[in-house]
C-alpha cells in the first residue's frame, strides 16, 4: 500500500509570491489534514478536508486555503507569502488512524 505522498519535497519562494503544495492520501482514506511545523513551534493544525468539504480550520489567516478533489487528493495554497511562512508542511490522511507524508519544506526568502 502506497503511503501519503507530498510534492514537492522542497521549495524556495520569494516573499509576496504564491505557492501550491500537494498531497495524495492513502487509497481509501477520505480525510486529509494539513499541519504547519515551524521551527520550535510543534505542529499547528491548518486545515481538514473530508469528502471534498472543509471540515475545520486552524487559527491561520485567509491567505492559507486549500481544496480536496474527487479522488481525495488535496492542495494547500498560500498567497502573499511572508518570511514566517517558512516551515515544514505536513499532510496526513485518515480513515480510522492517521498516516503522515514526509512533508514539503518551504523556505521564504
Amino acid at each position: 500500500e502506497a503511503g501519503v505522498t507530498q510534492s514537492p519535497t522542497h521549495l524556495i519562494k520569494t516573499r509576496g509570491q504564491q505557492v501550491t503544495l500537494r498531497c495524495s492520501p492513502i487509497s481509501g482514506h477520505t480525510s486529509v489534514y494539513w499541519y504547519q511545523q515551524a521551527l520550535g513551534l510543534g505542529l499547528q493544525f491548518l486545515l481538514w478536508y473530508d469528502e471534498g468539504e472543509e471540515r475545520n480550520r486552524g487559527n491561520f489567516p485567509p491567505r492559507f486555503s486549500g481544496r480536496q478533489f474527487p479522488n481525495y487528493s488535496s492542495e494547500l495554497n498560500v498567497n502573499a507569502l511572508e518570511l514566517e511562512d517558512s516551515a515544514l508542511y505536513l499532510c496526513a490522511s485518515s480513515r480510522w488512524g492517521y498516516t503522515f507524508g514526509s512533508g514539503t519544506r518551504l523556505t521564504v526568502v
Binding site: S31, Y33, Y35, G40, L41, G42, L43, F45, W48, D50, R55, N56, G58, L88, L90, A92, S94, G97, Y98, T99, F100, G101, S102, G103, R105
Partner: protein
C-alpha cells in the same frame, strides 16, 4: 479548547536504558484518543502508540508503553531498552473521540530524545 503540554524540550538516555517522556493535556471531554508520534530526521511522522481514554489498561507496543492517568490528565511514554534508532522528536497528541469539527489531532511541542551509545 483542548491543549497538550510536553514540559521536557530535550531528554537524553544511555543506550539500553529506560527513559520516560512526559505529556499532560487539558480537556473537558470524557472520551478521546491519545497518541505518541515519533519524528526522526527523515521528517516522517510515525505512530508509536495509541490509547483510548475509555480503556483503563495502558497501551503497550513492544519496547514502548504508556502510563495513562485519566484523572491527572497525564500520558507519559516509557521507552525500554533504548536503541540508537529511537533518537527523534517525540510528539504527544490528542483527538476528540467523536470527531465532528474536532476530528483533527492536537499536538504538543515535542521532546527531542537523544540516545548515547
Amino acid at each position: 479548547a483542548q491543549t497538550v503540554t510536553q514540559s521536557q524540550p530535550e531528554m537524553s538516555v544511555q543506550e539500553a536504558e529506560t527513559v520516560t517522556l512526559s505529556c499532560t493535556y487539558d480537556t473537558s471531554e470524557s472520551d478521546y484518543y491519545l497518541f505518541w508520534y515519533k519524528q526522526p530526521p527523515s521528517r516522517q511522522m510515525i505512530l508509536v502508540i495509541r490509547q483510548e481514554a475509555y480503556k483503563q489498561q495502558n497501551a503497550t507496543e513492544n519496547r514502548f508503553s504508556v502510563n495513562f492517568q485519566k484523572a491527572a490528565k497525564s500520558f507519559s511514554l516509557k521507552i525500554s531498552d533504548s536503541q540508537l534508532g529511537d533518537a527523534a522528536m517525540y510528539f504527544c497528541a490528542y483527538r476528540s473521540y467523536y470527531g465532528g469539527s474536532q476530528g483533527n489531532l492536537i499536538f504538543g511541542k515535542g521532546t527531542k530524545l537523544s540516545v548515547k551509545p
